[in-house]
Chain length 138, copies 2
DNA sequence: TCCTTATTGAAAAACATTTTCAATAAGTAT
DNA sequence: ATACTTATTGAAAATGTTTTTCAATAAGGA
């Protein structure tokens, strides 16, 4: 999804299109690895010098609400964000360079049915994430 | 695993058995939901009044090193810990009361092979976590 | 161009975690 | 039991991150 579509989403939800937001959106949208707020700040500031870190936090918050980005959980920390996958997808992360890819096609029906039977839980959702080495790094 | 086994693990690794550590270990070991450091502090302090929050952090750090506890990642936050599963197990969490259960038997071979083929990644590890409602809460 | 108000960045506050440090107590040797 | 060594402790301070406050600004509609 191009950065313009993100900006359109923001506008359609009543948010104003500012230089700060454009810089943040363009940075996150075109990066294929998870970025922390400070990383977004450093990168986006090259596009818009006056940008404040507070605005990065506020913009990430809105982008997450609109489901344009999602938080990435990792052993080293869970403060990073990445452009969200479309539909039912999960993340595959390179443990060396952080390069992220999405995949789909996971079918956990059988598993969750068996677990529901064994545990008495009603299963509503799942998190699945793969770690490995990307083609470049391996 | 009983609390004594945890204490034994600590002792075997050269750590001293103190009142503070006993209080933390007993608290975390017998609780079946994820606890934050402050929650551990509040609960363990009932067993040992002089306990300091700093020591809770330090003890949790050691228990994690020894793989007796593991960090629990959730949408609301990732600062909570729970007694670790044995062998290859994953967590199932009640979204209402936090009650946790472990399950095993997930077989992702087919999936990861297909993804490795499609993406060029060499897959080394996976995180899987289920969310739902426990028998009591549903 | 004017007007309203959402948005901004800076500063301060709040919060979570880590480090520093002198006092204490666990475990071992005597 | 006692003495000794030093890992461990809690309090305080420091650090790092995220949120709140607030007056100035600028986006977008009239
Ligand atoms: Mn899935
Ligand atoms: Mn598994
Ligand atoms: Zn890589
Ligand atoms: Zn429950």
């Amino acid at each position: 999804m191009p950065a313009d579509a993100w900006l359109e989403q923001l506008r359609d939800n009543g948010y104003r299109l500012t230089k700060a937001r454009r810089a943040v959106v363009e940075t996150v949208e075109k990066t294929t690895r998870a970025l922390t707020p400070v990383e977004v700040f450093d990168m986006a500031r090259k596009k818009y010098r006056a940008l404040g870190l507070v605005t990065v936090y506020r913009t990430l918050e809105k982008l997450e609400e609109l489901r344009l980005i999602q938080r990435v959980h990792q052993p080293q920390g869970c403060q990073a964000f990445i452009a969200a996958g479309v539909g039912h997808q999960h993340l595959l992360l390179c443990q060396n360079c952080g390069q992220a890819a999405f995949f789909d096609g996971d079918d956990l029906e059988m598993l969750t049915n068996a677990i529901a039977r064994n545990t008495g839980y009603q299963i509503q959702d799942h998190w699945l994430q793969l770690f490995g080495l990307c083609a470049n790094c391996r």
